[in-house]
Amino acid sequence: STIVLVFEAPSQQKGENGRVKGWEWKVQKGQRVRQGQALGQV
């Protein structure tokens, strides 16, 4: 079984201080995750 998430989030863009703003993934492809673990954040 599989769960697919499709969602809208702010696009990634570079801020004035060079920091990336917008959606950021916190996982790698193929990584094992547990329920409640972070996938990403804005």
Partner: protein, 423 residues
């Protein structure tokens, strides 16, 4: 008879070569004609006046393994598998059986909800086990999007041009995954459909509205849903709301509901922020057989609609995901559409051969991997064909009745939403 069999002389004659060739030619001609007729019938589906004949069978492309699999009655096999696993296991065989299963599939028995494994009467119950409280702590940062379940992150990324990359070079359309348009009312079968009666019901309940608003405002505050009630009413938040006309005010009229239905005809991606400050992202989490098979809400969000695609039940193993393009658009799945802090949000549990039954806790009417559902889907396809419309491939229900103010069913971060069951 015995005497006749023993004493009758048998004489063998050669069949003329021409007759054999003619016979083989006839067989081949029959096969080709039958194939052509089948193709012609597929083309005629949807044309006015054509003979209704259920959902057209999708024949996936792929290597020979996929071709062989496509000839198997996967849904029937899945149901049989489910029935088999519901058979009660003898008491003294349960613990060794579950321990063997845990050894093979890597289940951590120390976190299983019940200490005494005898409690699980069969494999189906063990498979749909709960975990001990606290064994899956949520990430402390409330702004994080959480993993909905245990599993492996197979793919994630940004959706560009409406396509999701399944593996390198294989993509499928997001429209095919989620469904493009809301079907006509004949297919809607939700607990509170977008019907005139629903609008009238909302109108009758208008006197109770103030009380509802109080409770929903309280809910929003508790769950940290970062929009205010006026945002929900007017859609003046960060992104365009799904349905402007869904506001259940005391002024709800049939015209509003009509407008809502009209909005339902829009492609789903029309809801994306028109100012292009947002993008669409996706993530695919694969649950292995030994994983905890209940799924949870990854964030605070509101589910507005459910679309049930009664498709096939191919395996969703990483191998097949690599080799069968558009696997998720072929399989039976439940598409939950709604919105979260940043706009559109959808959550799609996809079934597989061994776990065809998808349970959604807040939707008692949903029946997946069911013969009845298949029959209903065939009937809907027939009706669509009779009307001269294409079959959209899904049945839709609306959750607006769950909370008239929020416009759907609100879910807390980490809340259990449902799960996958064997068969």
């Amino acid at each position: 008879l015995g005497d006749a069999l023993r004493n009758t002389k048998i004489q063998w004659y050669q069949i003329p070569v021409g007759l054999g060739i003619g016979f083989l030619g006839l067989v081949q001609f029959y096969k080709v004609t039958a194939r052509e007729q089948e193709k012609q019938r597929d083309l005629e589906v949807g044309e006015p006046g054509s003979q209704p004949r259920g959902r057209p069978k999708v024949r996936p492309d792929g290597p020979w393994q996929v071709q062989v699999m496509s000839t198997l009655p996967l849904k029937a096999m899945s149901r049989l598998w489910g029935r088999f696993n519901e058979l009660t296991i003898p008491y003294y065989l349960r613990v060794p059986g579950f321990k063997l299963y845990a050894f093979i599939f890597g289940v951590d028995l120390s976190e299983v909800g019940e200490d005494d494994l005898h409690v699980y009467p069969n494999l189906a119950a063990f498979f749909y086990r709960k975990l001990k409280p606290g064994s899956r702590p949520l990430h402390p940062d409330p702004h994080m999007l959480l993993s909905p379940s245990d599993g492996r992150v197979l793919q994630f990324g940004q959706i560009e041009g409406g396509d999701i990359e399944q593996v390198k070079g294989m993509t499928y359309s997001i429209d095919a995954l989620l469904g493009r348009r809301t079907p006509t009312s004949s297919i809607s079968n939700g607990s509170s459909g977008t019907s005139t009666e629903h609008a009238k019901k909302i109108h009758r309940e208008a006197s109770e509205e103030e009380e509802i608003i109080k409770s929903d405002a309280e809910f929003a505050r508790v769950n940290g849903i970062p929009y205010t009630l006026p945002d929900l009413f007017t859609g003046s938040g960060r992104s365009k709301p799904v349905k402007d006309a869904a506001t259940p005010s005391s002024q709800s009229t049939e015209a509003e509901v009509g407008a809502e239905l009209a909005l339902g005809e829009r492609p789903w991606y029309d809801i994306i922020s028109p100012d292009k400050t947002t993008s669409l992202y996706y993530a695919v989490v694969y649950l292995a057989p030994g994983d905890y098979h209940r799924f949870h809400s990854p964030t605070n969000w509101v589910v507005e609609r459910r679309r049930h695609f009664a498709g096939e039940l191919y395996s969703v193993s990483p191998y097949l995901q690599r080799t069968l393009p558009g696997l998720f658009t072929l399989n039976e799945r439940v598409v939950l559409l709604g919105r979260w802090r940043w706009g559109f949000f959808s959550y799609i549990p996809v079934g597989a051969t061994n776990v065809g039954s998808i349970v959604v806790n807040f939707d008692r009417e949903l029946r997946t991997n069911s013969l009845t559902t298949d029959t209903e889907a065939d009937r809907a396809a027939d009706e669509a064909a009779a009307r001269g419309e294409p079959y959209l491939g899904f049945a839709e229900a609306s959750y607006e009745g769950a909370s008239p103010v929020l416009g759907g069913h609100a879910l807390r971060r980490g809340e259990e939403m449902g799960g996958f069951q064997l068969g």
